[in-house]
């Protein structure tokens, strides 16, 4: 038993782990920096002061064509990148919290595959222009919820409660199955195969503000619900039994978080295709660098996820310009080594502080 050193440390201040202002500042700065980089860099040869002045409504030296590039091509794309990246990593962080499994993410649980199947069916059915059909997010949501529901039923069918391991295994099976169905539907419809294929690989469209407006309402609902549950997710971390004795309705809270995270994932997948990895690396990087409480992880995943995807998109459209690399390829290609780097360096630091 330890002895208390009375008097030497004076008044000990008890402080809860919560989001500190400086991390919010860093997160917002990352979002702004990524956004401005996304607007400035490219073949049009713009400079940062010009673009910033134009955005702020001040007189800038940009000509009409350059203004159109910034405001009608790049700005919607940057905003879409921020929304999709933020939503995917916030949803990923929430899945990891609710399943108490560091590997849980929309892809592992079948939600993304279900959403993908939903959107494929819609694209095949509509077969018109290049923009995302308005019903796509709803079809994606139905697909995502059906997939997660199926994974849950399969994971619990062994009797008793779903262990997170059996849930994830069931999710992997469901994801493979739905991906197979999706590929079948895609191959059966030769006239839309290119459209479906380019969407599958992930891309942030340049169709003006259409996709932003389509995603925005779903994103706002998802963010509101998930961020409101940040402390509840910390309580759920002690398991359903203990959470219950602390006065939390564990089952209901889990369900709300899963449905909200699936809604966000589905809407993001509907407009941007399957962009893997964001939902895993961003939340884990935040956990390793800042802290493990969901009160830290959720808001910072939202900010850094947005900034990360925005930068990934910048690389996607500039690396082999004028051709574009699918953004999903960029997130995996640069995300994986970066994540390994963070993992190694934080292990060396001991991870305890």
């Amino acid at each position: 038993m330890s002895t208390t050193v009375a008097g030497t440390d004076g008044e000990v201040v008890v402080r809860a782990e919560k989001l500190r202002v400086r991390w919010i500042v860093v997160g917002v700065a990352a979002v702004l920096a990524a956004g401005v980089a996304g607007l400035v860099i490219g073949p049009a040869g713009l400079s940062t002061p010009q673009v910033v002045r134009d955005l702020l409504g001040l007189h800038s030296s940009l000509d009409a064509q350059q203004v159109a590039i910034v405001e009608q091509l790049r700005l919607p794309r940057v905003v879409l990148g921020l929304l999709v990246g933020g939503t995917l990593s916030l949803s990923g962080a929430s899945y990891q919290g609710v399943f108490r499994n560091p590997l849980a993410d929309p892809y592992l649980l079948g939600a993304a595959a279900g959403a993908g199947l939903g959107v494929t069916v819609v694209i095949v059915g509509a077969a018109d222009g290049a923009s995302t059909p308005t019903v796509a997010p709803i079809a994606a949501f139905v697909g995502a919820l059906a997939a997660v529901g199926l994974a849950y039923v399969l994971g619990t069918s062994g009797g008793g409660r779903a262990s997170t391991a059996s849930l994830i295994l069931a999710g992997v099976a469901v994801a493979s199955f739905l991906t197979a169905v999706q590929t079948y539907v895609q191959q059966r419809n030769q006239d839309t195969i290119r459209q479906v294929y380019s969407w599958i690989l992930g891309r942030l469209s340049t169709a003006g503000w259409h996709d932003v407006l389509l995603l925005l309402p779903y994103a706002v609902v998802t963010w509101t619900i998930l961020l409101a549950h940040r402390r509840v997710l910390d309580v759920l971390a002690v398991g359903d039994d203990e959470a219950t004795t602390l006065g939390i309705n564990a089952r209901r809270s889990r369900l709300i978080v899963i449905v909200a995270a699936s809604l966000g994932t589905a809407a993001a997948v509907a407009v941007s295709g399957l962009i893997a990895f964001v939902g895993i690396i961003v939340p884990h990087t935040v956990r390793l660098l800042v802290g493990r409480s969901h009160r830290v992880v959720l808001p910072l995943s939202l900010l850094f996820g947005g900034a990360f995807l925005c930068l990934a998109d910048l690389l996607a459209r500039t690396l082999s310009s004028p051709a574009e690399i699918p953004i999903g390829v960029i997130t995996a290609f640069f995300g994986a080594p970066f994540f390994v780097l963070v993992l190694r360096s934080s292990r060396r630091m001991g991870m305890t502080t």
């Binding site: 809860a16 782990e17 910390d234 002690v238 004795t245 939390i248």
Partner: protein
Amino acid sequence: MIRCSGVSVMLGDHEVLHAVDVSVARGEWLSIVGPNGAGKSTLLRFVAGLVRGEGVLEIDGSAVATLHRRRRAQLVALVPQTPVVPEGARVVDYVLLGRTPHIRPLGVEGPHDLAAVHDALTSLDLLPFADRLVTTLSGGERQRVLIARALAQGSPIVLLDEPTTALDVGHQQQVLEVIDRLRRERGLTVVTTMHDLTLAGQYAERLVLLDNGRVVVDGPAGDVLTEDNLARYYGARVRIIHDGGRPVVLPLREERAHDA
């Protein structure tokens, strides 16, 4: 403070508790003892609201069926036998989880809640550990952190499932002394399940012996811990020694018993 009457609990097809009647008075320490599988933990979990069953459970004069989940958590705190400790949780944040039933849904803690955590940590000599990770603490320290969480919960009833099982004899005594001190200082009603019968008899004011889901003996340690009872319900060969009026259970080995 707690009254169970005619409580039966089924787990699957198996009736784990059968028509159990137990009452605990305010400020009393009751210890539930019995052989493995007798239903000790199930009874504790029933009172904590983690398993459903038939019969009546009253807490502080009201039937729990009428209590909201949060209100119930304000009245009853449970220290589980094998708690789930989230990786990376500091002592402060872990103890703060105990304030959950006092924090409005979807809200965050206020100064009042941090004061309660400070008080609980002070009471258990844990302030120097406030910023340590719970997973890095020793068994005895960790058990005190769990008790601090229950204390921060502010519930007048504290249930402890096997609070000493993983500890060496010195730490067992320290933890039980802490529980007894808090019970006296704060007027807590304490219910524990215990494997160590001697310790159960030394600390609890009353023992309930469960066997096959039924209450078979209920009374002070001297009445419950007899050589006959332990032979009958535990199938154990023991000798009871009296030390200052408290029974000490001494296990006997077969050969020695013949020699003696």
